[in-house]
C-alpha cells in the first residue's frame, strides 16, 4: 500500500465528504486535540469538505504552543551560561520568552543547536567532554520515550556532562481539564494517533464515558481524518460515547508497553503550568529524584523573573477552543510568524500559524 497517495485518494475523500455532509444534520463542535490535525485540516481544506454544521475547535496539543514563558526564560538562562552547548528540537528556537528567544541568543553567540533527533545530544556530549551539554526536552507522549532512551544511554555511558531540562506533558490530563470547564463547548474529539501509538486507546475510554463525548483516534492523512469525522458524526447522532480506533493499523488498546515502562522508569508525574490553560495537576513529567545529578533544574541555577503574557494575545482562549485566531486583535498584524507574540503563532502546528498560512485574508 502506498502510505501517502492511497491515504489521500481523491475519490475516497470526496465520497466521505458526501457521507459526512449527509449525516451531519445538526451543529457539531469537534476539537482536534493535536496541532498536527489542525495543520492537516487547513492544508488539505478538510474544513471545507465536511459541511457547515461541523466546527473545528483547535485544541492544546502543540508542544511549542503550551510551553510556558517561564520555562523558555529558564532555557535562555541556561543557554547563556559559559562553556555550555544548549540543545533542543527545532521550533522551540522561535518561542518568545520574556526578553528574548533562543534564536536571538544564538545570533548573540550562544551555542544553541536544533537537533533532528534527541539522540544527537549524546554524540554532542561525547564530542565535547569539556563542555556542559543541556538537552531541553519537550513534547507529548510521542517524544517522551525518546527522551527516556537518551537518559538511559547517558546513564549507561556514565556521561557526566549531559544534563536534562525535562518539559514533557501528557494528553489526557488537559483534555479532562478542558471538559471540567463549563464554558468550553466541545461535542467530540479527534485524538492524535501518534500519541496513542504510545499510550494506546484505553486512556480515552474513561473520558468518553465519564464526560459523554465520543472520541476518534485518528491518523493525520486526509482519509484517516475524514473516516474519523464520519464516525464522530454517527456516534453524535446515535448518542454514543465510545472510543473509535481509526488508526488500528498501529494503535493497540494498551499502547507500546516497552515505551511506557521506559517512561515510568525515569520520569515522575508533576504539575505543569500550561501556557494559556494554567496549572494542571499531574499533567507534566520530570526526572525522578534519583536522577538529580543529571537534572539541569537541580544542577544549575534556573531562577528567572518572567514577564506576564501580553494582554492583547488570546492564545489561552484559542487553546481552550473559545475563540478562533481571527478573533484576536493582533492576529496577522503585530503577531505573525516572523514576530510571534503568542505561542499559537510560533509553531507551524499552532492554530494561529495554520490560519495565517492557509486562511489569512480569505
Amino acid at each position: 500500500m502506498d502510505l501517502i497517495n492511497d491515504f489521500r485518494d481523491k475519490t475516497h475523500i470526496l465520497n466521505l465528504s458526501k457521507l459526512i455532509k449527509k449525516a451531519s444534520n445538526k451543529p457539531l463542535n469537534i476539537m482536534e486535540i493535536c496541532g498536527g490535525h489542525t495543520h492537516s485540516i487547513m492544508k488539505f481544506g478538510i474544513d471545507k469538505l465536511v459541511g457547515e454544521n461541523i466546527k473545528f475547535i483547535h485544541g492544546p496539543g502543540c508542544p511549542v504552543c503550551v510551553m510556558p514563558r517561564h520555562n523558555i526564560d529558564e532555557a535562555i538562562k541556561l543557554s547563556s551560561m559559559p562553556n555550555t552547548i544548549f540543545t533542543t528540537l527545532a521550533d522551540m528556537l522561535r518561542v518568545p520568552g520574556s526578553f528574548s528567544t533562543l534564536q536571538k541568543q544564538r545570533a548573540k553567540g550562544c551555542d544553541i543547536r536544533a537537533l533532528y533527533s534527541p539522540l544527537d545530544a549524546i554524540n554532542i556530549a561525547l564530542e565535547n567532554p569539556k563542555k556542559n551539554v543541556i538537552f531541553f526536552a519537550i513534547g507529548f507522549e510521542t517524544t517522551t520515550p525518546m527522551s527516556a532512551v537518551v537518559v538511559e544511554k547517558a546513564l549507561n555511558l556514565n556521561l557526566k556532562n549531559l544534563f536534562f531540562h525535562i518539559n514533557h506533558v501528557t494528553v489526557p490530563a488537559p483534555v479532562m481539564a478542558l471538559l471540567d470547564d463549563e464554558n468550553v463547548k466541545i461535542d467530540a474529539f479527534l485524538g492524535p494517533s501518534h500519541v496513542s501509538v504510545i499510550i494506546g486507546s484505553k486512556p480515552y475510554e474513561k473520558i468518553a464515558k465519564t464526560y459523554k463525548k465520543p472520541i476518534a483516534i485518528s491518523g493525520f492523512e486526509p482519509l484517516d481524518m475524514m473516516d474519523s469525522i464520519l464516525n464522530l458524526v454517527n456516534q453524535f447522532n446515535e448518542n454514543k460515547f465510545e472510543v473509535y480506533n481509526e488508526y488500528d493499523r498501529v494503535v493497540k488498546p494498551n499502547g507500546n508497553e516497552k515505551a511506557l515502562n521506559l517512561i515510568k522508569k525515569y520520569f515522575k508525574e508533576v504539575d505543569f503550568s500550561w501556557r494559556g490553560l494554567g496549572l494542571i495537576p499531574k499533567s507534566g513529567l520530570d526526572l525522578k529524584g534519583e536522577f538529580d545529578a543529571i537534572n539541569a533544574r537541580k544542577v544549575f541555577d534556573c531562577s528567572v523573573e518572567s514577564k506576564p503574557e501580553n494582554k492583547a494575545c488570546i492564545c489561552g482562549e484559542i487553546l481552550k477552543g473559545r475563540k478562533n485566531p481571527p478573533d484576536c486583535k493582533v492576529f496577522g498584524k503585530v503577531c505573525n510568524p516572523q514576530n510571534p507574540l503568542g505561542s499559537c503563532m510560533v509553531s507551524s502546528e499552532g492554530a494561529c500559524a495554520a490560519y495565517y498560512k492557509y486562511k489569512r485574508g480569505s
Binding site: 498536527g36 481544506g45 528540537l89 534564536q103 536544533a114 507551524s348 502546528e349
Partner: protein, 331 residues
C-alpha cells in the same frame, strides 16, 4: 540591537525584507530595484546581463552534484532567466585552512565539466584562505555576464490578464537531497538533486517565444517565486496542486519532516510565465527536456495579489511563501 538571523538568508519573507528595506535602500538605483535574477545593462549598443551569487552548501558533495556544480549552474541559470546567453564567469574561493586539496580538485573538475556543458568560460577569479573556524570548509562566489537574446523583465507579467504559469520539472529535489545528505537524518533513497545548467532548454524557449517572466526556483522554492511575482507584478496566481509534480521520495521526506515541497529549493527547475497563446508551445519544449514539466496555473487580476492553491480535492487555500528557517517538526 537587532541581529542578522539565519532566517534572513532563507529565501523567504525575512530575506525579502532584508533586501528591500536595507540593501536596496543603501544601493538605491533603478537597475537593482527591478529585482530580476540578473541586471540588464546596455553597454555601447550591446545588451548585457550581469549577475553574481555566492554558494555555501553543507554537505559539499551530495547525490547529483556538489558545491562546484551548483556554483556554475546558479549563475548560468540566473543569466538565462533574464533571457541572456551566458558567456563568461568569474570565480572566487574562500577556503578554510586545512581543507583537503583532493576535495578542492574534485570541486574544480566539477566546475570545469559543468561550465563546458553550459557553454561558458571561467575567465577570472580570486582565492583567499582564512584561518580554521573562520569559514565552513569552502565558500564559492561566481559572477557572470551574458548576451541578452530576448529581454525578460518580470514586471511585464503584470500587464497580462491571464498569463499561464509553467514549471519545468518536478519540484523540491535539491532541498530534499540536501536534507537527506545531512547525516543526522539517516535517510536513504535514490533521489538525486535536479542541479543542472538550463541553457539548452531556455535557449530553445527563447528561439520560439518571448516569456513574460522566468525564475529558477532556488531557495524558497516554488512558493517563493510565485509569491514574489504576485507581489511585484500586482497579480494573483492560482495553481492546481494536482498539476505540480512531486516525486514519491520527496513527498516521503517532506511528510516525515513536516515540510511543504513548494517551499524547498530546486537547482535546475524553473518557473515560466507566458502569454496564454504561447502556453502549449512552451509546454511542448519543456517536456522535450523533462516529462514532468507542466502548466500549473494562471494569473488573474484582483486587489489581493495572493497565490491560491487548489488542492487535489478541489478546495482552495493560500500558498504562502516560506518563513523563518526550515525546521523539522517536533512530533
Amino acid at each position: 540591537m537587532e541581529k542578522i538571523l539565519l532566517s534572513h538568508g532563507g529565501g523567504g519573507e525575512e530575506m525579502n525584507a532584508l533586501i528591500n528595506d536595507i540593501i536596496f535602500k543603501a544601493f538605491d538605483n533603478e537597475i537593482l530595484k527591478s529585482a530580476n535574477d540578473a541586471a540588464l545593462l546596455r553597454l555601447n549598443s550591446t545588451n548585457l546581463a550581469f549577475t553574481t551569487d555566492s554558494f555555501v552548501v553543507t554537505p559539499l558533495f551530495f547525490s547529483g552534484g556538489d558545491i562546484g556544480k551548483i556554483a556554475i549552474c546558479g549563475t548560468v541559470n540566473d543569466l538565462l532567466m533574464v533571457g541572456a546567453k551566458p558567456l563568461y564567469l568569474s570565480c572566487s574561493f574562500i577556503i578554510e585552512e586545512g581543507f583537503s586539496i583532493d576535495e578542492f580538485k574534485q570541486i574544480l573538475n566539477s566546475m570545469s565539466k559543468t561550465a563546458k556543458k553550459a557553454g561558458v568560460f571561467i575567465v577570472c577569479g580570486d582565492t583567499k584562505v582564512v584561518p580554521k573556524g573562520k569559514c565552513d570548509k569552502i565558500f564559492i562566489n561566481t559572477s557572470g555576464v551574458g548576451e541578452v537574446i530576448k529581454e525578460i523583465n518580470t514586471i511585464n507579467l503584470g500587464s497580462q490578464q491571464k498569463a499561464k504559469i509553467l514549471v519545468s520539472g518536478d519540484i523540491a529535489r535539491h532541498g530534499s537531497v540536501i536534507m537527506q545528505a545531512r547525516d543526522e537524518l539517516g535517510f536513504e533513497s535514490e533521489l538525486e538533486s535536479d542541479c543542472k545548467p538550463l541553457n539548452e532548454v531556455v535557449l530553445e524557449i527563447l528561439k520560439t517565444i518571448t516569456p513574460l517572466a522566468m525564475r529558477d526556483a532556488t531557495r524558497g522554492g516554488l512558493s517563493a517565486v510565485l509569491n514574489e511575482w504576485a507581489k511585484f507584478c500586482k497579480v494573483s496566481i492560482k495553481v492546481k496542486e494536482a498539476r505540480i509534480k512531486i516525486s514519491d521520495e520527496v513527498m516521503g521526506i517532506c511528510e516525515i519532516l513536516g515540510f511543504e515541497p513548494c517551499d524547498l529549493a530546486n537547482e535546475g527547475t524553473f518557473v515560466l510565465a507566458v502569454e496564454e497563446k504561447d502556453a502549449l508551445k512552451a509546454l511542448e519544449i519543456l517536456q522535450k527536456f523533462d516529462k514532468n514539466a507542466n502548466i500549473i496555473g494562471e494569473t488573474f487580476k484582483d486587489d489581493k495579489n495572493r497565490v491560491i492553491l487548489e488542492t487535489i480535492y478541489g478546495v482552495e487555500r493560500f500558498l504562502e511563501p516560506p518563513k523563518g528557517e526550515l525546521l523539522p517538526r517536533i512530533c
